[in-house]
């Protein structure tokens, strides 16, 4: 095969894949509106996806808030602009760091887990077993995970933002002898409602959508046994991360 054939083949495969992904996603959305979804299944997933991600999201944002604030505080104090440090940290955390890092953590933890779980169910015929019992895998497996991620992602981002901002305050006070009141007041002066809400209201659901659909799609398309499951998990994390970074750029560009 020459290089042109190979490129053509590859392009076709990509289109085929993207097409199947769109069909899969459309089916998930259609099922959400046309079939009965058990609230209990959604709750279970919200617990697994959301509540259990709180610790790692918290730890991540704590260190992100700390490192960012210490760098900003060092330079801004030199410049005599220590008054606006709270506002700068607030901007960075609410607009970008909180949503993005929460997204990355959930992609790695939940995205990989969902892809592995669904992939294992696929290769061990469990999904076929469901269908053989007249149970629709879309309403039984996929939609609850989809809804749970879209609902939990904003909540995780609120939590992430809060931890990031407070960790920043901690470092500011502990290492730079900063004044907590100045930190809060500059933040409240500089940040408007859009800054505070956009990450939660727009980025949250969109990231949840991306993580759920890509993880489940790549999970369902797992072949070749246990090796395939591992491969799908890796692919899932890579695909989700790239999608989140790209989409985040455009969302930020459009919103702010």
């Amino acid at each position: 095969m020459n290089i042109i054939d190979k490129t053509g083949d590859f392009t076709l495969k990509i289109f085929d894949y993207v097409g199947s992904y769109c069909i899969f996603t459309a089916l998930v959305i259609r099922t959400m509106f046309t079939s009965k979804i058990k609230f209990k299944h959604v709750l279970e997933q919200m617990y697994k996806i959301g509540t259990k991600s709180l610790p790692i999201v918290g730890v991540t944002l704590m260190f992100v808030g700390m490192v960012f604030t210490s760098q900003v505080a060092k330079e801004f104090t030199k410049l005599g602009a220590s008054k606006i440090i709270g506002g700068i940290v607030g901007f960075a955390v609410w607009r970008e760091l909180g949503p993005l890092f929460a997204g990355v953590v959930v992609a790695a933890r939940v995205g990989a887990a969902i892809s592995t779980e669904i992939g294992a169910m696929k290769v061990t015929e469990q999904i076929d077993a469901l269908r053989s019992m007249a149970i629709n895998p879309f309403s039984f497996l996929y939609v609850p995970r989809f809804i749970a991620l879209i609902l939990m992602m904003p909540i995780l981002i609120i939590f992430a933002n809060f931890i990031g901002f407070i960790a920043g305050l901690g470092i500011y006070v502990a290492l730079f002898h900063g004044n907590p009141e100045a930190y809060f007041s500059s933040a409240s002066q500089m940040l408007d409602v859009l800054d505070i809400s956009a990450g939660v209201l727009f980025k949250g659901p969109v990231f949840g959508f991306i993580i759920a659909t890509i993880a489940m799609f790549l999970g369902v398309n797992t072949t070749y046994g246990a090796v395939g499951i591992g491969k799908s998990a890796t692919r899932t994390v890579v695909a989700i991360l790239i999608s989140i970074f790209v989409v985040n750029f455009f969302l930020s560009y459009l919103i702010f």
């Binding site: 169910m121 015929e125 077993a129 007249a134 149970i135 629709n136």
Partner: protein, 262 residues
């Protein structure tokens, strides 16, 4: 719908009719025109070399995969023309044991067996539990009710899968190697269960197996898949002396190796 199903069946003797069935995977023909009929309340056994397409055939009957040519009629209905909802009505009357058992590993044994009742009936949890325990008892696994599938041996998983397949008293049983990997006594228990189920509740069974005792004990009709086609054989009484060379070699090969397996 089930009324309609019955009304439709022109051929009331045969519950499943398979006509010129062709199934290919990536250009390779696995089934190349399979033809046979399954009589109502009859016990059919499917034999054939590993990889010849037996499991695939069962999956096609349940509509889990699409085929390329031919047709499968269930109660007179061509299943290639049915949508997922219509297939589901048929699937609820079928019980399937997958070759890999395919237990849901996030659910307990009891939940596995009871899932179909929980999803498709209005039974109370206590009523479901009672039915589940009853079926688990039939396969000698009543005490595994609260365990996770990962804690069971391969043979135990197979028996749980068996209990799961029959929990809603289906009228057609599709069993993919239900006795493979079981000790002779449990194997006989399962064979007797298959016979009992078809005799007492007038179920129809299709059993895929390599086990000679299962072939001889649970069949009225034996079909061998060879090179993508279905070969009709003489039936359990005469199959060991089959006039068809392929069939003769195959079943006698199984007997030769049987002592080694046990």
């Amino acid at each position: 719908m089930s009324q309609e199903l019955k009304g439709n069946s022109k051929d009331s003797k045969n519950i499943i009719i398979i006509k010129d069935l062709v199934k290919t995977y990536g250009g390779q023909k696995i089934l190349a025109g399979v033809d046979f009929k399954v009589k109502r309340n009859n016990k059919t056994t499917i034999i054939g070399a590993s990889g010849c397409g037996k499991s695939t055939l069962l999956r096609l009957i349940l509509g889990l995969e699409k085929f390329q040519e031919g047709e499968i009629f269930i109660e007179g209905q061509p299943i290639s023309k049915l949508d997922e909802d219509e297939l589901n009505i048929i699937r609820l009357r079928f019980g399937m044991v997958f070759q890999s058992a395919a237990l849901f590993d996030s659910l307990t044994v009891g939940e596995n067996v009871g899932l179909i009742l929980k999803e498709h009936t209005k039974l109370k949890p206590s009523e479901i539990a009672k039915k589940v325990k009853e079926k688990l008892d039939m396969v000698g696994l009543a005490d595994t009710y609260a365990q996770m599938p990962a804690a069971l041996s391969g043979g135990m998983k197979k028996r749980v899968a068996f209990a799961r397949a029959i929990v809603n008293d289906p009228s057609v049983l599709l069993f993919d190697e239900p006795t493979t990997g079981l000790d002779p006594i449990t194997s006989t228990t399962i064979e007797n269960l298959i016979k009992d189920l078809t005799d007492t509740i007038h179920a129809t069974s299709i059993v895929v197996t390599h086990q000679i005792s299962t072939i001889l004990n649970t069949s009225e009709k034996i079909i061998m898949i060879h090179e993508g086609k279905a070969i009709k054989t003489e039936g359990p009484k005469k199959i060991m002396k089959s006039k068809n060379k392929m069939v003769y070699k195959f079943v006698n090969g199984l007997v030769d190796t049987a002592p080694k397996i046990v």
